[in-house]
């Protein structure tokens, strides 16, 4: 077992990591107002008088945001609290119009759950591991402050103010940057399967607060720091590594870790203290008196459960079992919901039982399609080839119309033109031929032109068989069925 350890001057240190992930809920309108939750609008356009905290404005929760959070909780195998409520977190900042954030502290919507991460030898994760989820709650996002548009002023844009977030709090169960990375990838995968968050960390729809402490193996938990708002998996891993090493240095120099909020600076790859925010730590949480306790009916909860899609772990098991996919293929295809969806559309479009075509389809998807998308720098959602076209191509291979080589050729043309494979085959005459007469004719010509090589072959130089295959295929412009060519050549050469 290769555990992640920091080698200090005084011995080995273990790192203890917990993550609080803020995931933006997919919804049309905001959590407590009817303003649009979409990105990219003009400043202060997607803002209602409620989001701007005008006097006398009141919040009314959006059912879809609650539904999304409940479904997410179910996908994490977590307890759904039938009775929860909203609390106010009080602090002053220019991006927080109410002077408080409506969140859930005392009675969150979702309780304990768990996420399974896979073994990953290369990353030093020796065995699959269960990471505990402490809770999931729903809260409002803040607005945005712009600092670089005026020399002495900051500008406030409230478009994000009031957008629904899920805060998903893990237990301090991770022990290495790699485990944290695997946890985040798995969490993002689950959120995208559920459809409750698009998981786009670059656009800020998923950010992590990283709690890190270090201890000598077997010791009590150390004091932790919280690094706020890290917005990529790579940065989370780097922030953990940097912060853990900093803590070890401090402790080994005889210092103490201060429980504080820190900020990750990706340019310098280090965390630094945010002392400016320290006095704001007394948040004076109390139940929001503008809202009533949120009581979920059994019908509501049952409807959420019924809407829950097949999740990545279950899908992966099914692909390995029912579809007979190799473990690697099943893992790759189920890691992302869009890939899995594409794959299922591909299989369905073949019109054949999934158990029959699944393996070939998964091989083609992983090698040919992924290869092409990689080259083009595109996501599977932007694939120039549709699942239906892919299925048609697989069908042409299966019925012998196309050889593997021809199929690759046709696929390249599909990528370029967007045309259906059958049309390409038809127009460009790329059909594989099993016409024995035509092939025999070509073989006879080649043997006549290479009488010396025929002699050598017949004299025992078996390796020349490949030469005859190549010549025949070349003369047939690659369209001859290789199996038929083989058979006929063997017969002709004797």
């Amino acid at each position: 077992m290769s555990s992640y350890r920091i080698q200090g001057a005084t011995g080995e240190w273990e790192v203890v990591i917990g993550l609080e992930v803020h995931a933006q809920v997919v919804s049309k309108a905001k959590l407590f107002s009817g303003a649009s939750a979409t990105f990219g609008a003009e400043p202060n356009a997607n803002v209602s008088l409620i989001d701007a905290a005008m006097p006398g404005m009141l919040p009314v929760p959006n059912k879809e945001c609650i539904r999304q959070a409940v479904k997410t909780g179910m996908a994490l195998g977590a307890e759904i609290h039938r009775w929860s409520r909203f609390d106010r977190k009080n602090y002053f900042y220019a991006d927080l119009p109410q002077g408080y954030q409506i969140s859930q502290l005392y009675h969150p919507l979702v309780g304990e759950g768990a996420i399974e991460i896979d073994a990953d030898e290369k990353a030093g994760i020796a065995e699959p591991k269960t990471i505990g989820i402490e809770r999931l709650h729903v809260e409002q996002d803040a607005g945005k402050l712009m600092h670089d548009q005026h020399p002495t002023r900051s500008y406030v844009d409230l478009n994000r103010s009031g957008v629904a977030l899920m805060e998903i709090v893990s237990k301090p169960d991770m022990r290495s940057p790699a485990e944290a990375g695997a946890y985040l990838r798995k969490l993002r995968s689950i959120l995208r399967y559920v459809g409750s968050c698009d998981g786009n960390m670059e656009e800020g729809s998923m950010r992590a607060d990283v709690n890190v402490s270090v201890r000598k193996v077997g010791d009590e938990l150390g004091t932790r720091t919280e690094t706020k708002n890290v917005n990529s998996i790579r940065f989370v891993m780097a922030a953990i590594e940097g912060e853990a090493n900093r803590q070890v240095d401090v402790l080994e120099a005889g210092g103490k870790i201060v429980q504080e909020t820190r900020l990750y600076d990706p340019d310098r790859n280090e965390t630094r203290s945010m002392r400016s925010k320290e006095d704001a730590h007394d948040y004076r949480y109390f139940p929001d008196p503008d809202l009533l306790p949120l009581e979920l009916s059994e019908e509501f909860v049952a409807a959420c459960a019924a809407e829950l899609p097949e999740l990545p772990d279950a899908k992966r098991r099914r692909y390995e079992g029912e579809l007979g996919l190799p473990a690697y293929n099943a893992a790759v295809i189920t890691a992302d919901v869009e890939t899995a969806r594409w794959f299922e559309e591909l299989v369905a479009a073949t019109g054949k039982p999934a158990g029959e075509v699944g393996r070939a389809a998964s091989n083609w998807l992983i090698s040919d399609l992924f290869g092409a998308l990689n080259r083009l720098g595109k996501d599977i959602g932007e694939s120039p080839v549709s699942p239906k076209q892919g299925a048609e191509l697989l069908g042409l291979v299966a019925d012998g119309t196309l050889s593997g080589t021809l199929a690759k050729q046709v696929f390249e043309i599909m990528l370029e033109t967007g045309d259906d494979p059958a049309k390409i085959v038809e127009e460009r005459g790329l059909k594989q031929t099993s016409d024995t007469g035509a092939i025999e004719k070509v073989i006879a010509e080649i043997m006549a032109a290479n009488a010396d090589k025929v002699e050598e072959y017949r004299g025992g130089k078996d390796k020349l068989f490949g030469f005859f295959v190549g010549q025949t295929m070349k003369a047939m412009q690659g369209k001859a069925n290789p199996g038929v060519v083989n058979d006929l050549l063997k017969k002709a050469l004797g």
Partner: protein, 95 residues
């Protein structure tokens, strides 16, 4: 529990209300007087009593997920002490 000048300053700072020394001096006895009186609640036996959650029994209603609001920037900014280029403007914040 009673408050001293330092506590009053701390509360005032949490509440973002600037106070002078004179304010603080006046507030200490005033707040202590009120807090001392409030503390008679300690006499009430509340063992096993759940804190009141809703005054009149009522259920939280939920809105449908429909965009019904927004695109009212003029109304949002109408009363702003300082608004520029569609934003509220505040003194520069250094983060």
């Amino acid at each position: 529990m009673s408050v001293d000048a330092a506590t009053v300053r701390k509360i005032a700072s949490l509440a973002r209300i600037a106070v002078t020394d004179g304010d603080v001096e006046a507030m200490v006895p005033e707040l202590n007087n009120i807090l001392g009186w409030i503390e008679q609640l300690g006499e009430v036996n509340t063992d096993g009593v759940a804190p009141l959650a809703a005054v009149i029994p009522n259920h939280q209603r939920l809105r449908e997920d429909v965009v019904t609001d927004g695109n009212i920037r003029d109304k949002v900014l109408a009363n702003a002490p300082q608004a520029e280029h569609g934003f509220f403007a505040v003194p520069k914040v250094i983060e």
